[in-house]
Symmetry: C2
Subunit: 199 residues, 2 copies
DNA sequence: TTATTGAGCTTACACTTGTACGCTAATTTA
DNA sequence: TAAATTAGCGTACAAGTGTAAGCTCAATAA
């Protein structure tokens, strides 16, 4: 294995270790450098060969999480194209994502309101991506003017994220209820926006 | 000053000290017992005369914050009664609250998605109060059936909290924009719910 | 082949943390 | 007045933290 390969592999190990530490009771700011190093199987001081700070690692994690989100969107679009209703399919896809990658979603959720301005800004950026894409999609499929489509998209994304947050602390049966509820709420918004725009 | 009075006063000092530490970059879990004691002007070990844990203090803070929220609701209702529109007045009252008691709102916001299950549950309880009251209000003023009123209330509260979160990181001009946007979104929901209920 | 680089290690240090233990001194009770 | 209670303090300790300094040794470059 080349030196560069090895370094990348260790970097990966650090990132994965950090994600694995982010369970229900840990936030980025509560994870220590030494803990991450321990979990990654390296000496504490070796950490510095890869990241300047624990904060630099944190931003990397947020970026990775955002990447996952974008993959999620792509997946959702594919499923929408093959029928089933936009709202239904999107919410279902999102909920599946949360279950499958709960630590990733938890990271975004937690740092969204976390103690680091840099992290909050980074998460907000990722959510904005989401909103922009949904706004475009809404405009092209419903013909809603930008203002309305954007307000609708923002409201929808926020509600879905909020439902996702609750889902993290819920069992499977309650998750189904949550999904059902948020779908109805999204329909409220879609209809209300349509009406307000006078379409 | 009686012994009991003195003790209550110190307890107050601890609570206020804790709130004062909860600025943009601190969460409950990142505040140490020693820090709180230092800020309250007592010895670290004296803390235990008042709270079993730092966690017990945390729950007390969440309760106090919830109390503030309920006062806010009462205030909003008074202002609604004296005219100005429900949505307008409520959002304005809420935004004023956030500015005036940013540390209190920040606490709720942060612990809502924080690392302690107990704190998350406590905050959720406070938010549920909010939703229940808004549901009742909605039913009595619009005649919407419970299911719809409840879904509407939940969506509204979540959006307002979410806007409040953004407001915390914004200047006055942007806060005005945020308020305007969330008001429109609330109207989407109100109209959409009305339509869906077939009223 | 030899010299350089650099990922990872060990050791070390100065801090901060929670909290156990026992004391003081003032209030409350008897 | 005498005894009991207790808020608050000081000391102490084990455990964890970030990170500086300098070493090793294998991969790369010359």
């Amino acid at each position: 294995m080349s030196r560069q390969e090895q370094k990348l592999k260790t970097r990966r190990a650090i990132i994965e270790a950090a994600f694995s530490l982010l369970d229900e009771q840990r936030s980025l700011s509560s994870v220590s450098l030494r803990e991450v190093a321990r979990a990654a199987g390296i000496a504490p001081t070796s950490f510095y060969r890869h990241f300047k700070d624990i904060d630099e690692l944190g931003l990397t994690l947020v970026d990775e999480a955002g990447l996952n989100l974008r993959q999620l969107m792509r997946q959702a679009r594919l499923r929408i194209a093959s029928g089933g209703g936009v709202i239904n399919t999107s919410v279902d896809t999102f909920m599946e994502f949360i279950c499958a990658h709960s630590n990733v979603f938890r990271l975004l959720l937690r740092e969204h309101t976390g103690t680091s301005l840099a992290f909050r800004a980074a998460v907000l950026r990722e959510i904005q991506h989401f909103i922009v894409e949904l706004t475009d999609y809404t405009m092209s499929t419903t013909g809603l003017p930008y203002q309305y489509a954007n307000l609708q998209a923002e409201a929808m994304v926020k509600l879905v994220f909020s439902a996702g947050a609750e889902a993290l602390d819920s069992g499977a049966e309650q998750q189904a209820v949550l999904a059902q509820r948020v779908k109805l709420q999204l329909r409220f918004i879609a209809n209300g926006a349509k009406e307000a725009a006078g379409v």
